[in-house]
Amino acid sequence: MVAGPSGGGKSTLLRVFNGLVPHFHGGRISGNATVGGLDIIATPTRDLARHVGFVFQDPELQTVYNMVDREIAFGLENLALPQREMASRIEEALHAAEALHLLGRTVRTLSGGERQRVALASALAMRPRLVLLDEPTSLLDPEGAGSVLSALMGMVERGTHAVVSEHRLEPILPRAQAMLHLEGGVVVEVDPKTWSAQPPAPPIARQSAIGAEAWSLAKVCAGFGSHVVLDGVDLAGAAGEVVALSGPNGGGKTTLLRLIAGTLAPLSGAVGRRPGRIAYLPQNPAALLHRPTVRSEVTFTIVRAGERESPEAILEALGLMSVADRYPRDLSSGERQRAALAAVLPGAPSVVLLDEPTRGMDSGARARLVSLVAGLRDRGAAVVLATHDAELRSALADRTVNVGGGRALEQPREAVLL
């Protein structure tokens, strides 16, 4: 296992194992590294691919073909495997990835967890001795993450080595034989049996009471074309309240956020919201980053919102001062996530909508986010979080709403702490 804070070098280290660093990404490298007896600097990645497989973080950006069996055959075709051997290798790989039932399916119809298992099968089809997995579950819901980790454990039990980089360590920590902690480019070997995760961020007591209604959905139906995602939903949120949305990917959490934001019109029903600025963190937050520095992203929002706040306040709150003058798209995925948060949250938004805000974040960054959102809550913002992160929900949520199957089912309101 490889663990450590975001921006510490975990993804770079994994890419050294299969030669993507330096052959694909360039840069400077010194020292030597061997995998399976092969010198990674002297051996191109496409030759190392016979011995080392890789599963990347985003299940949607690893697919060449739209049919599952075709996708798994891609690596075998690159190896010039005889056509008569491919069918059996494809089945063998899908079985190893616990995804044999996906044979013949269209990749676009698969869930995130299923797509990651297809990605794992694509790597296993080439019969590597080592498989690298770079945060394979960070974009998945709990069910998808569980299925991928189960397939990973099965693969290891059958004799394939694995190096996994993850922030959510608890599910696989008991099975890890070795652990590396990576911070600031420095690797420290840690005994996984004695390593303990940082305790979850405690709930922050509120400094103000929940106020008047800030947004509402009344008998709202929403969807795309003939596909109805939300069916007759009644829901409301108040100023100074944090509502957490849980549920499977594709269940309607993002649709609900877009309805509240006003960027998606309902098919029927009414959506109401109070006047004021809406801060919205989309599902792919890097998509909105386009300024030359992190600081200028924050300033962009402050100026447009007519606020007078200094960008340093939010940069400090999110631990971004050390990267404030860097190009946001050069940052690690966790740092980029925080940069996007800094870009949408400055000032005093009246409604705050966050879609998976802790994606790729380590526990330290999560604690900073909890503190920041608690501050916004106490200043009267109505906050809605769509998140799989149970720790974030327990630290912040006044209410949790489960969204899925077209419904939004509320759980009882928790006691208000003063």
């Binding site: 890789f54 891609f74 075709e77 690159n78 010039a80 989309p282 890097a286 998509a287 870009a343 949408v344």
Partner: protein, 270 residues
């Protein structure tokens, strides 16, 4: 399929006669309706109708030629002033017919065939290129989704469309996100040995009897129409100076009717 599409496009572009263009258009619609179904074609048909209507309108308002005047606008109006004629409308309609037929002739490649089927049909020497193209096509829906997401997010940060320069706040992040997505996909391909040498194929495509029938019908249609053009049987047509009905000869018409072959072949298969 490629032979059929190429023949349709050849006939539509090589003749000025709207009768033969219309025959090709009807054959293309019939083939798509048989292979894909009218429901799946709705989007393409809507787009084609809009594009063709635009072509008709453009010619009608800009070409003030022809003997049959429908109405006139004062000559002092720049570009739009002058006589509006039936001949200009008919010539524009012929242009719209050409565009519609050409688009629908090429539509099977996106509506009927999966990208890997098109790539599998490429010769072995183009296999690596085909894989790269198939991967690129998979990114196209992501670009469209990214545009929507970025526009929504930037609107909530205060962005409004205020002239061409303001669109850079949308276009730049969309382009950057698309480039990053393609880099990540390229990384995934390299990690699976892409570019390591000659490639094999999991499903080498063998030409079946139905394929030969379609190739034969398309080849015959191509040859017959080419001969018809050379001998003058496929008479040209021109809307100006006054409108006359297009001449229709049996031989080039037979060539157009051969383009209905997919309808017969696919119906007999099902």
């Amino acid at each position: 399929m490629a032979a059929w599409s190429a023949t349709c496009i050849f006939i539509v572009l090589s003749t000025t006669n709207p009768a033969y263009k219309a025959a090709v258009l009807v054959a293309a619609v019939a083939a798509l309706a048989t292979g894909v179904g009218l429901r799946r074609m709705r989007g393409v048909l809507t787009g084609v109708v809009l594009i063709a209507a635009f072509a008709v309108l453009l010619n009608f308002v800009s070409a003030h030629l022809g003997a049959t005047v429908l109405f006139s606008l004062p000559d002092q109006i720049p570009a739009l002033g002058g006589p509006y004629t039936l001949e200009a409308l008919a010539f524009g309609a012929t242009g719209g017919l050409t565009i519609a037929a050409a688009i629908l002739a090429a539509a099977p490649f996106s509506l009927l065939l999966a990208s890997h089927e098109v790539m599998d049909a490429l010769p072995a020497s183009l296999s690596r290129t085909g894989a790269a193209i198939a991967a690129s096509l998979n990114l196209v829906p992501a670009v469209a989704a990214s545009f929507v997401q970025v526009t929504e997010a930037q609107r909530l940060r205060g962005w409004r469309p205020r002239g061409p320069k303001s669109w850079s706040e949308i276009v730049v992040p969309v382009v950057l996100t698309s480039v990053e997505g393609s880099i990540q996909l390229a990384e995934s391909m390299e990690a699976r040995g892409y570019g390591s040498g000659p490639r094999t194929s999991v499903k080498p495509r063998r030409i079946q009897l139905d394929d030969w029938l379609l190739i034969g019908a398309s080849g015959a249609a191509f040859a017959i129409f080419l001969i018809s053009q050379a001998t003058g049987w496929a008479a040209p047509w021109y809307a100006y100076p006054s409108l006359t009905p297009p001449a229709i000869d049996a031989t080039p018409l037979v060539a157009c009717l051969l383009l209905f072959a997919p309808v017969l072949i696919w119906r007999s298969r099902s």
